[in-house]
Symmetry: C2
Subunit: 326 residues, 2 copies
């Protein structure tokens, strides 16, 4: 591990703990090459630098509220990272001491986890956010798949093999603007065994779909648990929050439980629900559930001509349609 | 009935049928006082003039597609008006012959129906709509309750008694911008027996909540059926479409089935779903379901200081909150 990827946690009692950049981060700022980003220790904690503007304090306020909120049932709280307060740490970019959120390292104890980071919601902005922020987000929501699909892919790593490591889709912009066929392809590739090349002529075999997406403890089942809560809860509105989907391919290959799990992350734009459900998050979640359940029910569905080149935003009204029928 | 509220249906065989403005229209353009609006006959048909721009042709195209779509199950198709084609008619504003949609008159056979017209969806515009239309709609969605609640009230009539007739909230603008407490109040008043005055100090008794909203054939049950379809269907996206909720108070007062029903109307902005669920409509529908089910579970909930004066758009982030807790 290069020295520049290390930093030190200066504890109150003046001992030091070695910190490093996470191996399994698929989206967001990364603490590499002198940049500011989150760090992990070797005991399962994840240190996220507080963002300089008010996003940092908002995320602390959310974790403080959520971790002490007795109205959140345990089977829902488990989908959120555990919160261990904040701590002043040497920032990964060498800029000095910065306050960090101390969170559960969600991939701690996992071996070569495959991970997808999916930002939920057609809108990534709260109605009460500042106008310039709304305009910036709305532009991006319209340019990416967010507005049309109700979510967008923010990052992904799919474990291939010990030899070739992970497949990671290239181009942050590209994965945020996938066509419908591409989004389905990526979500299939995520649970397939034939991932040695991201090849257009290689159809993903969805070998792990039934054990990762399916089953009583699978990802779909967990998404449905989360959905049931969102149909009812009016405490929080989660804008620009992501769902992580994770599992371990090597366990699946040896017939073991691949430990499929979902987790929610990124709470810098959480607002009070004020008695109204979070219909924006819920709608996007239902859309993701539909994508996932279709892979379980029709894994063999063929792809159209739009593969890898389509545009999620292409659609027709009925009057433009030759015979007005679907 | 004044003569100016009548017009004549010139049928192909040159006979004439007397048409009149509907008695039970709670939203939209009305065919009174020389204005252009829909008409009804005395056999249960509703004649809606095609809107001059492309909205008219889009709505025809939708009805044509929907009425012949065998993928729509019967228990869902019943929520939509029956479609009987189009017909050239003398327009209600005297401007000459205009094409009209010939639809089922949804209130035909009902006596003094109480009706609420609720426009569903946080966004009333399709991503692929023209930019100027998007901007116009977005402005209104943000100014009304649409963006925050996921729906807005477009119109309402609540039958009081034969003597005093209907209570109709005043001010189209006002009902579109109700506070949370007001929206709850209106949805309670809709199913209450003590509606003789829209009085702030008169708490709605929700006398008909259990028979109108509740029960196996009640409005909530119908909304849930619709929801299940929207979780799965990827054929249509319904922007700016309304749900009508209807029942008959006089039946309820005599212990009979008040015939609660929901119907969907206004399809000038329906687009192809292209394999994606309508998460915008679904989110708004889930929000309406939550409002309705809360009235059934906690009809006695007291109102806060915001009654009649609150603003749906008021909310706080955690960092603005004194102790960061809910």
């Amino acid at each position: 591990m290069p020295v520049h990827e290390l930093t030190y946690l200066c504890l109150a009692n003046a001992t030091s703990v070695m910190l490093k950049a996470p191996d399994n981060q698929v989206a967001g700022h990364q603490a590499r090459n002198g940049n500011l980003g989150p760090l992990i220790d070797d005991s399962g904690r994840f240190y996220k630098p507080l963002q300089g503007d008010e996003r940092g304090s908002k995320e602390v306020a959310f974790y403080t509220s959520f971790s002490s909120n007795t109205k959140v049932p345990d089977h829902i709280a488990r989908f959120f990272p555990k919160f261990h307060g904040t701590q002043l740490l040497e920032a990964s970019d060498g800029s000095g001491m910065l306050p960090h959120l101390v969170l559960q390292d969600l991939t701690f104890g996992r071996v070569n986890p495959s991970i997808a980071d999916i930002k939920i919601g057609a809108m990534t902005w709260a109605p009460q956010a500042p106008e310039d922020y709304i305009q910036k987000c709305m532009k991006k929501d319209r340019e990416t798949t967010s507005l049309v699909f109700g979510f967008r892919l923010s990052g992904m790593q799919v474990f291939e093999s010990k030899e070739s490591g992970f497949w990671r889709p290239e181009g942050r912009r590209k994965i945020q603007t996938l066509s419908l066929d591409c989004m389905k392809l990526y979500l299939k590739k995520f649970v397939s065994s034939n991932t040695s090349k991201m090849s257009l002529d290689l159809k993903p075999d969805c070998a792990f779909a039934s054990t990762v997406y399916g089953g009583s403890n699978g990802i779909l089942s967990q998404l449905l648990e989360l959905k049931a809560w969102f149909e009812d809860q009016t405490i929080y509105h989660f804008y620009s929050c992501s769902i992580l989907m994770m599992f371990e391919k090597e366990l699946a290959l040896t017939g073991k439980n691949p430990r499929p799990e979902i987790r929610l992350v990124d709470f810098a734009h959480v607002y009070e629900g004020n008695g109204i459900i979070d219909h924006n998050f819920l709608g996007g979640l239902c859309s993701l559930i539909k994508f996932t359940s279709e892979i379980l029910t029709t894994p063999e569905e063929s792809y159209g001509d739009g593969l890898m080149t389509g545009d999620a935003r292409t659609s027709h009204t009925y009057s433009e349609n030759k015979n007005g029928r679907v």
